[in-house]
């Protein structure tokens, strides 16, 4: 055999071995997936029953009962997380993809939220604990923040109504000759708005603060919302930047304002993508445990009151799985089964929608 042929043969063998190893790696990955899913299925399905969803837990050590409190609590926490997180995520995504497109500010927010997507979720838990759970002296910082947020929102609404009134009605009735007078009027409107906000804050503070103390459902929802925001923000930004610029130009040419372009053209075109992003964000936070451990904590009784500690599926799984009773383990497996297959189902459906929309 000539030297070259031997050399070629050697290279072919090496290539074959390397490629077989990579195939083996793929099989190993599939093996782990199958192993885990099969195990969850095997243990979980025997624990499934109607009582799991309709009954509250029995006292520790006594078999029977269900996890109704955890299912309801989980739904409630995730629901409020969506209410808080999705609007903020979408709005800021729109801002950095449209109004601030290409600016340093937009890049900073985008990169930072990309990093925040992967930041340890337990750190988020400690952060929310510090601002929403841990009372500082006699006042609760979280309550103060919540009141501040509320009064800011209300004064924003008040200010825009006032501004609308001034520019559209008042200025038409009395014709102001100099530009300085208009400026003065604007300044007056702004000052009134700010004063209104401060008044609201001072007025509401003693009424609302101190209602929430210690571990509470709001803190859990806030922690999950904190995790959702960067995910939703980044998806919105990506989906909006996929909308061709010429589509916007066509609308501008018809005399539409940017707001109308965003509302009627861009958002519509990117709707499916944004919606899928929200679904994926929900499935991501639905399985989070670490941020709930010291925010919404746990509650072995049924409650829908978000001001109290509230039970969630994932924390219940953690407590039950590390607990001493066989019955608890079975319940933990059943809950794991429900949560895993819910998340996998949602993920696969969402990915399929994306596949249909953007690759098909």
């Amino acid at each position: 055999m000539r030297y070259e042929e031997k050399y070629v043969k050697k290279r072919k063998i090496i290539s074959f071995i390397a490629l077989s190893l990579s195939t083996a790696a793929a099989f190993l990955g599939l093996f782990w997936l199958g192993f885990i899913l099969f195990d969850v299925l095997r243990h979980g399905i025997s624990g499934l029953s109607l009582e799991l969803f309709t009954e509250d837990p029995a006292p520790p050590g006594i078999p029977g009962g269900g996890l109704r409190n955890a299912f309801v609590g989980q739904l409630e926490i995730v629901f409020f997380a969506v209410i808080i997180g999705v609007p903020i995520g979408i709005l800021s995504g729109i801002f950095i993809a449209e109004y601030a497109r290409g600016t340093k500010f937009a890049r900073t927010v985008s990169i930072l939220s990309d990093i925040m997507v992967s930041v340890p979720s337990i750190v988020v838990g400690t952060f929310i604990y510090a601002i929403l759970v841990k009372p500082i002296g006699h006042i609760n910082l979280g309550g103060v923040l919540a009141v501040g947020f509320l009064s800011a929102m209300l004064s924003l609404v008040f200010g825009s109504i006032l501004n609308f009134f001034v520019t559209n009605i008042l200025l038409k009735l009395i014709k102001l000759s100099s530009e300085n007078a208009v400026r003065l009027l604007n300044l007056a409107t702004t000052t009134t708005t700010i004063l209104f906000g401060i008044f609201l804050f001072v007025y509401l503070l003693p009424k609302l603060v101190d209602k929430i103390q210690g571990f509470n459902g709001w803190a859990g929802a806030a922690a999950l919302a904190f995790i959702m925001i960067p995910v939703v923000l980044r998806t919105t930004e990506d989906m909006l930047s996929l909308v061709p610029w010429s589509l916007r130009e066509a609308a501008f040419a018809l005399g539409a304002s940017y707001y109308n372009v965003i509302k009627d053209i861009v958002i519509r075109a990117a709707m499916t993508g944004i919606f899928t992003g929200i679904i994926l964000a929900i499935s991501r936070v639905a399985g989070e445990t670490a941020p709930l451990l010291f925010t919404s904590f746990n509650n072995s009784y049924f409650t829908t009151n978000m001001n109290e500690p509230i039970s969630s599926l994932t924390v219940t799984i953690f407590v039950y799985a590390t607990g001493p009773y066989e019955d608890w383990h079975a319940k933990a497996w059943a809950a794991s089964f429900v949560i895993t297959f819910f998340i996998l189902f949602v993920t696969v459906v969402a990915r399929y929608i994306i596949h249909l929309k953007y690759k098909g």
């Binding site: 290539s15 793929a26 990955g29 195990d39 729109i94 801002f95 924003l156 960067p230 996998l344």
Partner: protein, 313 residues
């Protein structure tokens, strides 16, 4: 009259609202550091930085706290799980981009990504009830009989195999981070221009030659990015590790010993902290973890941004 047409009112209004939303996001991110620093200031003043990092003692009764043991556990588990995950993940990436027949690419790709979608608490449950017994009965004794007999390396595998130890935790974690590395590496490998691959084939290269000498060098940055991203994920993973690690604040030489990581310490002790300095030390741990993972994730992002910029040119 103004010559330039003024922005419509609704644009100003909507712009302000959406700006305040994105400004809020920015504020939230920065306030994490500020709040964690403020909460841990008590411990920072009492224990200092260097002293805290290198003190092994963690004694709530004597109120002496040091981060050496959880930091050590975090580093060991992260390194070990990356060592286990990287070869497998790269193999999967190569399989998905080059080896697999076309019909298998999408289903296998989705299956690997499903590994990433499984919540970490499920990994923890599975690790505790399924993997740990297998580990303590079969795999760990087998390792002790073979690798454990080698003089120096044997130190790593001493002790009774319990299944609840650094090794099991690393295995669970490695399975968790495989999909991150695999999917980013696959995407980067797929970006290699066909022209380059075809030129190599035309020179008589085998498939492996093309992968090794053309595709991997081309996708290098993306693969690094994926690995560093997985590193950041592994550092901060809590629930998958919390079940199978025990919570033991000691630095051990054996991988078959229980240990602690920062995340596990936080998860187990945060709600039990009964004194201000205890809680403050836990916040200090959280601050260290946040800063560490933030830096690592920023590096990963830097790699991936470079990739993006390189290809869009």
């Amino acid at each position: 009259m103004n010559k330039v047409k003024k922005l419509p009112l609704k644009d100003i209004f909507f712009g302000i609202i959406s700006f305040s939303a994105s400004f809020l996001v920015l504020t939230l991110i920065f306030s994490v550091i500020v709040v964690l620093y403020k909460e841990s200031s008590l411990a920072i003043h009492k224990f200092g930085i260097i002293n805290f990092i290198f003190t092994e003692e963690w004694d709530p009764v004597k109120q002496v706290f040091g981060a050496a043991a959880p930091l050590f556990g975090t580093v060991v588990i992260t390194i070990l799980s990356l060592t286990l995950a990287v070869p497998v993940a790269l193999g999967i990436a190569i399989f998905l981009s080059e080896v697999s027949p076309h019909i298998l690419k999408t289903p296998v790709g989705i299956a690997i990504e499903m590994l990433a979608a499984i919540p970490s608490i499920i990994y923890g449950m599975w690790g505790l009830f399924t993997l740990a017994p297998i580990m303590s009965e079969y795999i760990e004794p087998a390792i002790q009989k073979t690798l454990g007999q080698i003089p120096l390396i044997g130190k790593l595998f001493e002790g009774t195999p319990q299944g609840i130890d650094l090794f099991t935790a690393s295995v669970v974690l490695s399975i968790m981070i495989i999909p991150f590395i695999a999917s980013i590496s696959r995407d980067s490998l797929n970006l290699t221009p066909d022209l380059m691959k075809e030129s190599a084939y035309a020179l008589g290269a085998t498939k492996w030659d093309v992968i090794k000498d053309v595709m991997i060098p081309y996708a290098k940055l993306g693969i690094y990015g994926g690995i560093v991203l997985a590193l950041g994920r592994a550092l901060g993973e809590t629930m998958a590790v919390a079940f199978v690690l025990g919570n033991r604040h000691e630095i051990t030489t054996s991988l078959f010993d229980a240990a602690a990581t920062i995340t596990v310490t936080l998860a187990n002790e945060f709600t039990e902290a009964d004194s201000d300095i205890y809680l403050s030390s836990l916040f200090y741990l959280a601050l260290i973890l946040f800063v560490l993972s933030f830096i690592i994730l920023a590096v990963a992002k830097l790699f991936l941004l470079k990739v993006e910029r390189g290809y869009s040119r």
